[in-house]
């Protein structure tokens, strides 16, 4: 049923399309972390990783996923490339495309960059994070993690806590969760959780202590210290007092609440170390699921690519 050439975001996918990726990812989970069981489904395919913005975990995750499907991978150092020489994005990606590329995995600081690139190249484009827009494979791995740990997604209430306004993870999670029948509550100060999110079907809450007990899942987002300069919140100390997930707050939560974090974590700021390492947390499982999800995405896009 998948006939899309690109994966640009989760907002445009149907529940069926999302579930198809999750089902495929679940099947890959057993082999995703085992080089000995690597497949050759993508043998002969060339995957180029174009990270215009620094990333370690997502880049490595895509690299391993592609290699474990038998694809060849080229990871470009964008900061050292033509971008530094003033070449525009369109010329950069078309140049690489002209060399013969099957997949471009793109991370970029501008919202919509992946969508624009998809208009310009013949390769399949996978969005690995565009500005504050979407990070679809992170959203998918979060869905896989919830589905595995909770057995379902429909009917759950998922709290996403932190700098929602500037988070592409929050958007991808929100779009996927709504499609899959979950309720979403976005939690943080009004400057980081604008009311406009209610227009996207989310509940907006500013009082974490009086919301946490209603949540089946908590996604804690990284707080970026650079937001402080913009005056969006007054201090880390005040942020921690209101929104850090620590042992005291965990006592107000459901005993089986699932705690997730897309990483990298600021231990002691948005999440306390004992919670991050505690039995409710699935932070490393998210990372493992990430490889399986990215294998599934490459595999499914390869299928629709071959059909065309």
């Amino acid at each position: 049923m998948w006939d899309r050439k690109h994966l640009l975001g989760l907002a445009e996918l149907s529940a069926g399309e999302i579930n198809e990726i999750l089902d495929r990812a679940a099947a890959y989970r057993a082999t995703a972390l085992d080089e000995g069981k690597a497949s050759d489904k993508l043998r002969g395919a060339r995957v180029v990783l174009m990270f215009f913005e620094n990333s370690t975990r997502t880049r490595v995750s895509f690299e391993l996923a592609a290699e474990r499907l038998g694809a060849r991978v080229t990871a470009m150092q964008m900061s050292a490339s033509s971008v530094a020489k003033g070449e525009c994005l369109r010329d950069t990606v078309r140049t690489v495309d002209a060399m013969g590329v099957d997949f471009m995995v793109v991370r970029h600081s501008s919202s919509g960059a992946a969508a624009r690139i998809a208009e310009w190249v013949s390769a399949s484009v996978i969005n690995a994070g565009d500005g504050t827009h979407e990070h679809p494979t992170q959203g998918l791995l979060d869905m896989l993690t919830i589905r595995r740990r909770k057995g379902k997604i429909e009917g759950l209430r998922v709290g996403i806590v932190g700098d929602i306004a500037h988070s592409r993870v929050a958007r991808s999670d929100l779009f996927a969760l709504k499609k899959l029948g979950a309720e979403v509550v976005l939690i943080g100060p009004p400057t980081l959780v604008p009311a406009s999110f209610t227009g996207l079907g989310a509940e907006v809450a500013h009082d974490f202590d009086n919301t946490i007990h209603r949540c089946d899942v908590l996604c804690m987002l990284r707080i970026q210290r650079e937001r402080l300069g913009g005056g969006l919140f007054p201090s880390i100390r005040e942020y921690c007092a209101l929104y850090r997930l620590d042992a005291r707050r965990m006592r107000r939560a459901k005993p089986d609440v699932l705690v997730m974090h897309p990483g990298p974590m600021n231990r002691g700021i948005e999440i306390a170390a004992d919670v991050a390492d505690g039995p409710n947390a699935a932070v490393l499982e998210q990372v493992s699921n990430g490889v399986a999800v990215r294998m599934a995405v490459l595999d499914i896009l390869d299928g629709s690519r071959r059909d065309k």
Partner: protein, 423 residues
């Protein structure tokens, strides 16, 4: 004696409250007579089935000259104006260097004369370098031929400086055209703030960025007695603030653009950089209030904010794209199709917003077919059906959000000071 007779047209001159079949006689570059002309005239244009009205006036265009002649020049912009039915345009001073001194203003006037197409009035900057710190030589700029003062592209952020500018400009009788955008509220924004911006992950420009600026400027105009023109109004509450100020007797006029009257923020979907414009495209409610504002006269004029950009300025990431769209060659057809054909405005109301009303806001003696006035005339075929094709523009730029649109209505013959202009 050079004579020209335009016969059998539907003559619309809102300045005279005229909308009737008549002939227009032109003599020596001026309007001689409107009515039934029987005497033999050498040059006759048969305008049966056509509208004959004053040449259109666009009080807000960017000609990028001096500075960015790959995007537009005074000559190419003048040609685009004529192609669109505009006989008079006002060129904004945010060029490189800016029009903040009399010699720079004279350059624009001279280049326009050399092009010999449309009347081009420069707008002079309000402050030196458009930095908002030091007034320009407004009286000397006036003598050099500017039609208004504007730091367009930027708001005069200092209230004290704006108050001085409004007061000092009274020496000239010219308005201060204010680009109302409070910069700390709009900072970083690339589209209308709201659910769609949130969904697309694009930073928004809240309506309050425009509205707080309008509110401040009308208060300053009220207190100083200065003449204020609010350009490119984009929000419903902006219209309301101007309506209230006019009711109180503040000397304020306003314009909005064809794109703000017809397009919503939905055009940004897919990260369409030709929908990136400043102020941003808003929502349906704003469009409806802007249309009502034109209808009831709160919004005096419609101006294109013709903002040419080179292809690479748009073929890029959305947030790095230069804001602005071109409009000189599409304004008439888009407005005729979207506002007149649909019954929202009459031809008379549309033509008023494109002729006498901007002329009055600028205090230039144009936009009318009164006997004695400059014979700037456009003959419009209201039934001409065509498809907008940006590749055929005379403008040097192609950043048009209306490209591909099927429209009805076109300027057929354009006359400046009695001379038919071919482009």
């Amino acid at each position: 004696m050079a004579e020209l007779l335009i016969k059998n047209g539907r003559v619309i001159c809102p300045d005279q409250g005229l909308d009737e079949p008549a002939d227009v006689l032109v003599k020596d570059g001026r309007i001689e007579k409107i009515g039934s002309v029987a005497e033999p005239v050498k040059q006759v244009i048969d305008a049966a089935g056509k509208i004959v009205c004053p040449g259109l006036i666009d009080m807000h265009v960017h000609l990028r000259d001096p500075g960015d002649s790959d995007e537009e020049t005074i000559a190419s912009g003048s040609a685009a104006a004529i192609a669109g039915g505009f006989t008079t345009i006002v060129a904004m001073p945010n060029t490189e260097p800016p029009i903040d001194n009399p010699a720079a203003a004279e350059y624009v006037v001279n280049e326009a004369r050399r092009a010999g197409l449309a009347n081009v009035f420069p707008a002079g900057a309000v402050t030196m370098g458009r930095k908002g710190e030091e007034l320009t030589e407004m009286a000397l700029l006036n003598l050099a031929g500017v039609a208004a003062f504007s730091d367009d592209g930027s708001w005069v952020a200092s209230a004290g400086m704006m108050a001085k500018a409004l007061k000092y400009a009274r020496l000239t009788g010219l308005p201060i055209m204010s680009h109302c955008e409070e910069p700390t509220l709009s900072a970083g924004g690339v589209m209308n703030a709201g659910a769609l911006a949130t969904k697309l992950g694009l930073p928004g420009v809240p309506r309050s960025a425009e509205e707080t600026a309008i509110a401040r400027d009308v208060l300053l105009a009220e207190e100083t007695g200065g003449r204020l023109h609010v350009t490119h109004v984009s929000t419903a509450r902006g219209v309301e603030l101007i309506r209230q100020a006019k009711r109180r007797g503040v000397d304020v006029t306003a314009d909005t653009t064809p794109h703000h009257l017809t397009l919503t923020e939905d055009r940004v979907r897919g990260y369409n950089t030709n929908a990136r414009v400043n102020p941003p495209l808003r929502a349906k409610e704003d469009i409806e209030t802007l249309r009502a504002g034109v209808k009831d006269g709160t919004i005096d004029a419609i101006a294109s904010d013709h903002a040419p950009h080179a292809p690479q300025e748009k073929m890029c990431e959305f947030d790095r794209a230069a804001p602005g769209v071109i409009g000189l060659e599409t304004t008439l057809a888009v407005l005729a199709s979207e506002l007149v054909q649909t019954g929202i405005l009459t031809w008379g109301e549309l033509i008023a917003a494109l002729t006498i009303k901007p002329a009055r806001a600028l205090a230039i003696g144009k936009g009318t077919l009164r006997p004695g006035a400059d014979a700037d005339i456009v003959v419009i075929d209201p039934a001409a059906q065509w498809t907008i094709d940006a590749t055929r523009f005379l403008s040097l730029s192609r950043n048009c959000p209306f490209d591909g649109m099927n429209v009805t209505g076109r300027a057929e013959i354009v006359i400046v000071a009695g001379m038919t202009k071919e482009v």
